[in-house]
Amino acid sequence: MSADILRFALAYAQIALILALALACWRMLRGPRAQDRVLGLDTMYINAMLLFLVIGMGNGNVFFFEGALVIAVLGFVTTVSAAKFLMRGEVIE
């Protein structure tokens, strides 16, 4: 019973998150401006992180926690670099 509920919930969550990922990707592909793409990528990162957590819950193990943690702690670096590039024309000055 509880397994069925959870299985459904997790499957739903996976589909929802992957759809969210796809939507973010659509924005990334579509643009129209460079900042839109970066925003899309950043959103994809977070969605992927949540997906990792949900997959981990489905598997019942914590092996993907590190992946999620790395996104949480370091995922922003890409975005920050990209944004700084847009803002200043170079990443490190």
């Binding site: 489905g58 598997n59 019942g60 193990n61 092996f63």
Partner: protein
């Protein structure tokens, strides 16, 4: 699952090859990165696909190896990731150095049809 991953590898490799054959060094570097993704997935696929069976073992005991993902391709991919990162960095630097030295970002250091 298998067919999706195979198609994914195909798309990555196809895009990578197309870019690798382009004339701008930046295209080539993006192509090499995409190719690296595709090849890494390919190596990974050689261990066959397992879901929910990460090769992290219980402490000791007899285990059934068919119930876990093959760890060896994973370790090969890890090495390959690192090496492709290194070579990407190198190629990048050579690319910008070439642009500085030749004035163009064409892979041959000169625009097509223009002699030195």
């Amino acid at each position: 699952m298998e067919i999706i991953l195979a198609l994914a590898i195909g798309v990555l490799v196809g895009s990578g090859v197309w870019l690798m054959l382009r004339p701008r060094s930046y295209q080539v570097i993006v192509g090499l990165c995409l190719l690296a993704y595709g090849v890494n997935l390919f190596i990974f696929a050689m261990g066959r696909l397992y879901i929910g069976a990460a090769p992290i073992m219980p402490k000791g005991g007899f285990v059934d190896p068919t119930a876990y993902a093959d760890p060896l391709p994973q370790s090969l991919v890890l090495t390959a990731i690192v090496i492709s990162f290194a070579t990407t960095a190198l190629f990048l630097v050579v690319m910008i150095a070439a642009r500085g030295a030749t004035g163009t970002d064409h892979v041959d250091g000169k625009e097509r049809g223009r002699d030195e």
